[in-house]
């Protein structure tokens, strides 16, 4: 175990406590700020899509990673955010207001769903969110006068305070700012009583309740925050997709978000970012792999989703803590060499959790 030697009370409220962490995060942010100098505008717009997905992943991380509420329907909130934002911007509402409204509306729907499902646990919740997302996709398709139905609707460009942001580098900075704001916000939230209550609910609902935590409201807050972030991510994503159709926000996207946080590592903000990097560059890696594979396999349509599924399965079976967990193990290995023990990270397993009377 690492012993942190604290020399002032200010260290208790630092977000980045471990030595070197500050430097690594700073280097990452500096790299993101310098990106427009290094990349062409095509890669910058790819990067903007990556930022939107990372943001949605952070949203899902608040719900699934920190509060333990599995959601297989998070794409629905991204979709609600995207449509609300696009419709408002098309009606002439300024960009920041539209984005805030998209986030708040998605958050409101999320809180309503959270209130309704707060009595459910385990898979009832997973199936309810999955059903919610399927119903939402159909409802968006059926609301043709507003959303254009299955024909889709175009998204107008971004204009911030009267200045049109058409260049890729301008959008890059806007997206980066929004992402960093939410990363900072979530990091703070998770340190505050609200966030700690969510983590307590994840670890044991019974213990959380006996410590005087209002489980119901903790879950509702988690749903609200999570859906709000997903809605904002949807608003940002809409501008990069340029054309919205209900199918975009289907079960496939929910699974992609789930893959992100599982691969990154449940229960850490850096996990969501690692996972988003992984998911965004997996298609490129698959393309690169195609050159090595026999011809018959390359042309198969299902190859990509098969590899997606295989990666999720492999991570759950062999590394449930994801890339973040792997990184922690590697760091501990280097720091404590030659005294590293594999057993440090073994978690106790629990069998048949619910009491059954028949």
């Amino acid at each position: 175990m690492r012993v942190l030697f604290k020399t002032s009370y200010d260290q208790d409220i630092d977000l980045l406590v471990l030595p070197g962490e500050r430097m690594r995060v700073g280097a990452l942010i500096a790299l993101a700020i310098l990106a427009p100098l290094l990349l062409s505008s095509y890669y910058l717009s790819e990067l903007a899509i990556f930022f939107s997905f990372a943001l949605a992943g952070i949203g899902l991380m608040v719900l699934t990673g920190f509060s333990g509420q599995v959601s297989f329907g998070h794409a629905a909130f991204v979709g609600i955010g995207a449509y609300v934002h696009a419709v408002l911007v098309a009606r002439g509402v300024p960009f920041p207001l539209a984005l805030a409204a998209a986030g708040l509306l998605a958050g409101g729907v999320g809180a309503a769903l959270g209130r309704a499902v707060s009595a459910m646990h385990g898979f009832y919740l997973a199936i309810a969110t999955l059903a919610f997302s399927i119903v939402m996709e159909t409802v968006i398709g059926a609301m043709e006068p507003v959303t254009g139905g299955h024909m889709g609707m175009p998204v107008p460009g971004i204009a911030l305070f009267g200045v049109a942001l058409e260049e890729a580098w301008q959008q890059h900075y806007l997206y980066l700012a929004v992402l960093l704001f939410f990363v900072w916000g979530v990091a703070n939230l998770m340190r505050a009583p609200t966030g700690r209550a969510m983590i307590a609910v994840r670890d044991s609902e019974t213990s959380a309740r006996s410590l005087g935590i209002d489980v119901r409201s903790a879950k509702m807050t988690a749903f609200f925050v999570s859906a709000l972030i997903a809605g904002v991510a949807g608003g940002l994503l809409a501008h990069q997709l340029q054309y919205l159709s209900p199918e975009t926000f289907g079960v496939g996207m929910s699974l992609k978000l789930m893959l992100m946080i599982v691969v990154g590592g449940l229960g850490s903000i850096s996990g969501a970012i690692f996972g988003a990097v992984f998911v965004s560059f997996l298609p490129n890696a698959i393309d690169a792999l195609r050159a090595l594979m026999p011809d018959g396999l390359v042309s198969q349509a299902g190859l990509e989703s098969f590899i997606f599924g295989a990666f999720i399965a492999a991570f759950i079976i062999f590394e449930p803590d994801g890339l973040h967990g792997r990184w922690r193990k590697l760091r501990l290995f280097l720091e404590t060499y030659p005294y590293y023990k594999r057993a440090t990270f073994i978690r106790q397993k629990r069998y048949l959790k619910t009491g059954r009377f028949r």
């Binding site: 699934t64 333990g68 599995v70 297989f72 309704a116 499902v117 009595a119 459910m120 385990g122 898979f123 009832y124 997973a126 199936i127 309810a128 999955l130 059903a131 919610f132 399927i134 119903v135 159909t138 409802v139 059926a142 019974t206 006996s210 699974l255 789930m258 599982v262 449940l266 198969q300 349509a301 299902g302 190859l303 989703s305 098969f306 997606f308 599924g309 295989a310 999720i312 399965a313 759950i316 079976i317 449930p320 397993k349 629990r350 069998y351 048949l352 959790k353 619910t354 009491g355 059954r356 009377f357 028949r358």
Partner: protein, 290 residues
């Protein structure tokens, strides 16, 4: 709507509900034995339909022999799926296990698409005539689904309540540790439950094949069966059967009443029931007392 239309729609609904029930039986068994919720059960059903199609049509063995071989091979597949994959994650957090089964479903679907292609195929069955009685016209295949469901439920009930093996499975699903102490081979029995569930799913795939066509989208049927099981209460078999019948019968009427939301009424109904009674109509699990 006339009286005969109502009767016709309800009969179709009952047979559709029986199809859901066949799929639901499988994952309720798995859930009771291991507390694993198998989101990939619809994919197992699809795989069953494809295997039967392969044996019966592509290898030309005829319907009955093809069906028997297909069901058996799905049983072997289910046994191996548990022995090789699912056994490793027992004891992991429930959320991880759902995500794993969803991923398995994704892989199975992609694999089926790669092997058999994405076009819909039809599986000729011996039940393809229409039956007329009292102004109602209904396909014999629809009636066959109902009969098969009743038959399978009866057989499974006999198996679980009258044979030594069935009783051992019941014991293992009530308390794994106690069963293990009484020399019940819990690991093998759990794999056997998976095999039975996969076989029942294959029967469902086979019986519903004339109605839905055989293609990779068949796996969506599994999610609707899921909705049915949740409506009834997941932990109990009568509850799951009842829920599936409710969903099956309500669906055609609701589709008729308000067509824009056609196809998603099963989920709307499930959400509505869950909001009122979060544990389903017949609850089976209780909150832990401290």
């Amino acid at each position: 709507m006339e009286m005969s239309d109502v009767a016709q729609l309800s009969l179709i609904g009952v047979s559709q509900g029986c199809g859901y029930a066949l799929v639901a039986l499988g994952f309720v068994f798995i859930y009771r034995a291991t507390e694993i919720v198998n989101f990939a059960h619809g994919e197992l059903m699809m795989l069953g339909a494809f295997t039967v199609l392969t044996f019966a049509e592509l290898l030309g063995l005829g319907f009955w022999l093809g069906a028997a071989l297909g069901i058996l091979s799905l049983g072997v597949f289910g046994y191996l799926l548990d022995a090789v994959v699912m056994r490793r994650v027992i004891g992991e957090s429930q959320a991880s296990v759902f995500i794993l089964t969803v991923a398995l479903g994704l892989m199975l679907k992609a694999l089926a698409g790669m092997i058999w292609g994405y076009g819909a195929r039809s599986l000729p069955s011996p039940f393809q005539t229409d039956v007329h009685f009292g102004g109602i016209v209904i396909g014999l295949d629809r009636i066959a689904v109902i009969l098969a469901t009743v038959l399978i439920c009866g057989l499974l009930w006999l198996f679980f309540s009258r044979t030594r093996l069935g009783l051992a499975i019941q014991a293992a699903s009530q308390n794994q540790l106690a069963a293990y102490y009484s020399r019940i081979p819990v690991k093998r029995l759990v794999s056997l439950v998976w095999a039975i569930a996969a076989m029942v799913a294959a029967v469902a795939g086979l019986m519903m094949a004339p109605v839905t066509q055989v293609d990779t989208e068949m796996s969506l049927f599994g999610i609707k069966a899921f909705a049915g099981a949740v409506v009834g209460g997941f932990g109990s078999i009568p509850g799951a059967l009842m829920g599936c019948l409710i969903i099956g019968v309500a669906e055609p009427f609701l589709d008729y009443a308000f067509p824009p939301l056609k196809g998603v009424y099963a989920y709307i109904l499930m959400l509505a029931v869950l909001f009122v009674r979060p544990e389903g109509l017949i609850p089976q699990t209780y909150q832990k007392k401290v």
